[in-house]
């Protein structure tokens, strides 16, 4: 008899935890980059392309992209482990748009490198950053559309019956428009936080960051609440789940983070932002579970433990953190 491959190799809670942690890391890097690009393009900086804070961001964008891609791999792996049928099916229905994401990210990546390597007075910066912005806007839209469709098995089955060529974009815009806008405004919010943080000794830059953090957060809370109100049938189970408490936690922590940022207490502000971020990712995780519970309940999946590969992964994971820490210490430390 051939082995059955439909199993989880560790208990579900471990996968859920790893998924939430790595997705949070991915989103923070992505928000730094995407939100940062938006603020650099639309923010009113003094002598923008010669501004040291702007320059710093431009130099860091390619690295932030590297981190976004790298941190994005792990949550994509874990979500495919738990929800393969939903993710692949939805991706196939939008096949061409989904595949195009890779090419578009490559273009954005090179645009960011072109921007980082060009002279700081170069007016082409705006063009490079605009290219990256448009590309990332596309990527964010397709990601939201595909993952929203993955939560609607009846819809993607119906869409597939109509068109098998992978040329459909999730037509149920009502179900994900505010989800997408919440993600975009969230990126601007986090971008604003980092602009303020980097500009803490540069009052005009700090003011720009502060403004984007404030208004980004207002827009983000508004779009988030509209999205939540539009959950429809999911609203009842949502209110009964721990997610509703996490919404409150996220709100309080976000506002707290805003308050402390205005007071220039960055450590407290960043801790609050990070915790509220993880809470929001957890909310997202719970909503997906609730949306799909009638089609696929991950807690019913067979668990066939593979402890030795898992422990080896953990060792490598810790080793990776330690090695990166060590390299950064070497890089920023005193050179002999």
């Amino acid at each position: 008899m051939l082995p059955d491959s439909n199993f989880l190799s560790v208990p579900l809670w471990i996968i859920d935890t790893l998924s939430i942690v790595t997705l949070s890391l991915h989103l923070i890097s992505m928000n730094f980059m995407f939100g940062g690009i938006i603020i650099l393009l639309f923010g009113k900086f003094e002598d923008k392309w010669n501004n040291p804070i702007v320059e710093k961001f431009i130099k860091l964008f390619p690295n932030a992209m590297a981190m976004t891609v790298s941190f994005g791999v792990a949550p994509l792996l874990f979500v495919q482990l738990v929800y393969p049928q939903q993710i692949y099916s939805s991706a196939i229905v939008s096949g061409w748009y989904w595949l195009l994401v890779v090419a578009v990210v490559i273009i954005a990546y090179y645009a960011l490198y072109a921007s980082a390597f060009s002279k700081k007075t170069d007016s082409r910066q705006k063009i490079y950053l605009s290219i990256a912005f448009v590309c990332l806007l596309y990527v964010s839209y397709i990601y939201t559309s595909v993952f929203a469709l993955a939560e609607k098995p009846d819809l993607y089955k119906l869409l597939y019956a109509q068109n098998q060529g992978g040329t459909i974009i999730n037509p149920d815009l009502n179900s994900y428009l505010f989800r997408w806008l919440h993600m975009l405004t969230g990126a601007v919010t986090v971008g604003g936080f980092f602009v303020a943080l980097f500009g803490r000794k540069n009052e005009p830059a700090f003011a720009v960051g502060k403004q984007f953090y404030l208004w980004g957060m207002v827009a983000s809370i508004a779009t988030g609440l509209v999205y939540m109100m539009g959950l429809g049938e999911l609203m009842k189970p949502f209110m009964k789940s721990p997610a509703i408490w996490l919404v409150l936690v996220s709100l309080v922590l976000s506002l707290g983070s805003l308050y402390f940022l205005f007071k220039k207490k960055f450590t407290v502000s960043s801790i609050m932002l990070a915790v509220s971020f993880v809470s929001m990712v957890t909310i997202r995780h719970i909503v997906r579970k609730l949306a799909l519970i009638d089609f696929h309940d991950p807690s019913t999946m067979a668990v066939n433990p593979q402890w030795s590969p898992f422990v080896i992964f953990l060792i490598f994971f810790v080793l990776a953190i330690a090695t990166i820490w060590y390299m950064l210490k070497l890089f920023f430390g005193k050179q002999k």
């Binding site: 082995p3 491959s5 994401v101 597939y160 890089f331």
Partner: protein
């Protein structure tokens, strides 16, 4: 069967190859290049060779731009594309090897960080710290290869996993070690050939001479590791898989054998221009060496992917994503019942699931040309006997009436004119075409499943009798359903061969 089928005009093989080939070229270059940079830097620093350090700094910029951006993202691209083209197989790989993928991700993250710090560190870091980061880069990149190699080789030779289902049995499978060292050799060779290409553009002076010789040494060492490990690798491929591929004269296997010439030519170019007349190693020679190296590598990867046919995971899942374990059930109860994503067109659904992973109608591995001028009964017969066809196809795992439906679906899209009209042929030339279309898919004269001996020294009547009884010879053999003109032309053609043989 649980997934929709992405129905695109481009052949799956083409689109997969397009992304995968780019990625494997860059990924191997990124590993070998990492080792090259750190070793070359160590030597240059020991000898305080400034020109070489400047060369290496420039090289590392390109290296980071190519490997960190293009390499990393085409790697993600492979993930995207396998999920679209064969989600069932991807799901198996993820469920069984999730911690291998995750560990690979950990090394990938170190690799990316190290590459960036190495590049930015040329001016900032002390030589010692710069080299430490360079070594960390190479080790983590090679560890990524180590892990991915376990998963890729599993697909070809799952070994004991097929009975135990144990992670380690699948990971350290029969082709693991040979493939690992072969790929390590490829990494070193590619790094050398690429560094030669960059150096070929320098002006012909003493520095170029020394650099070309140094780079040539890399390429030759890589080749010296590659060639014997390739022989080792082939010897570790389960015999039944390799023999089956050879028997059906799989084009890539033949191309792979021919590609030894590529490796030899590369060796000659490097010895002559790299060691003997290094100052003459110009851009033309550099390009030529790159072409030889990449062609060889492309042919190897093509062979590796193809030799696995008819499976995507040997003895576990067929190339069209159908589980071997469920094949019997589908044959008994019908395939369509188990297809979860259906349209209103049942024959088209069956066609997609059974055939479209490998074939298009009129593009990649076209079915139209294969069946133009034939009839539904013949097409259905061929479908029922796919496992006997040259090229290692999976068996058809549906019910007989479903094969008939697929045949009807194909028949609506082919040229229905007579073979003589389509190809403007008559006499024995028409007979040869009839043979190629109706018989040659399974029987090649002096080749695959050759039946020429049984056709020798027999009469026209005997050949006619054979044609009349064709459907009775073997379960997978279709009846001869050609018309009288085709039949006569075919008999004349076989008789003309008999005549030649007896002469």
């Amino acid at each position: 069967m649980s997934y929709p089928f992405w129905d695109i005009e481009i052949g799956y093989g083409i689109i997969m190859a397009f992304i995968a080939v780019i990625h494997v070229f860059i990924a191997h270059f990124a590993i070998g290049g990492g080792l090259y940079l750190v070793v070359a830097e160590t030597i240059a620093r020991k000898k305080n060779y400034l020109l070489k350090l400047q060369f290496l700094e420039k090289l590392s910029k390109f290296f980071v731009l190519v490997s960190v951006v293009f390499g990393a993202l085409t790697g993600v691209g492979i993930w995207f594309i396998i999920g679209l083209l064969n989600p069932a197989a991807t799901e198996i790989l993820i469920h069984n090897f999730v911690w291998a993928w995750a560990a690979e991700w950990a090394f990938f993250t170190i690799e990316i960080c190290a590459a960036l710090l190495y590049f930015y560190g040329w001016k900032k870091l002390s030589p010692k710290n710069h080299l430490i980061i360079g070594w960390i880069y190479f080790i983590s990149a090679w560890m990524s290869l180590f892990i991915i190699n376990g998963i890729i080789t599993f697909m070809l030779s799952p070994g004991d996993w097929i009975t135990t289902g144990n992670f380690w049995d699948g990971f350290f499978n029969p082709t693991f070690w040979s493939s690992l060292w072969l790929r390590t050799g490829i990494c070193i060779m590619l790094a050398g050939v690429y560094a030669l290409f960059v150096a070929s553009r320098l002006k012909a002076d003493e520095f170029k001479k020394r650099l070309i010789r140094f780079n040539s040494l890399w390429a030759i060492v890589g080749l010296a590791i590659m060639m014997p490990t390739l022989v080792w690798y082939i010897s570790t491929i389960p015999k039944e898989i390799y023999d089956a591929a050879l028997e059906s004269k799989l084009t890539p296997v033949v191309a792979m054998n021919a590609s030894y010439i590529n490796a030899m030519l590369l060796g000659v170019v490097i010895i002559v221009f790299g060691f003997l007349i290094p100052k003459r190693y110009n851009i033309v020679v550099g390009t030529l060496a790159m072409i030889f190296a990449l062609s060889w590598f492309g042919e190897y990867e093509w062979m590796r992917e193809s030799v696995r046919k008819p499976y995507v995971i040997t003895n576990y899942m067929y190339a069209n994503g159908i589980d071997v374990a469920k094949a019997e059930t589908y044959q008994e109860e019908g395939l369509h019942e188990y297809i979860q994503f259906k349209t209103s067109d049942k024959p088209a659904d069956l066609f997609r699931r059974a055939c479209r992973s490998c074939h298009t109608m009129d593009g990649y591995k076209p079915l139209k040309q294969a069946f133009d001028g034939t009839d539904e009964a013949f097409i259905a017969g061929i479908i029922m006997g796919t496992q006997a066809i040259r090229g290692n196809m999976p068996p058809f795992v549906g019910a007989e009436d479903e094969a008939q439906m697929i045949a009807s679906h194909i028949y609506t899209q082919i040229d229905k004119r007579h073979l003589s009209e389509i190809y403007n042929l008559e006499g024995t030339a028409l007979g040869k075409k009839v043979y190629d279309v109706r018989c040659g898919k399974c029987h090649v004269f002096n080749g695959f499943n050759d039946k020429s001996e049984s056709l020798l020294e027999i009469t026209e009547e005997d050949i006619g009798d054979i044609l009349d009884m064709a459907g009775e010879f073997a379960e997978e053999m279709p009846e001869f359903t050609g018309d009288a003109q085709e039949r006569k032309a075919l008999i004349d053609y076989i008789m003309s061969l008999n005549k030649k043989e007896t002469e």
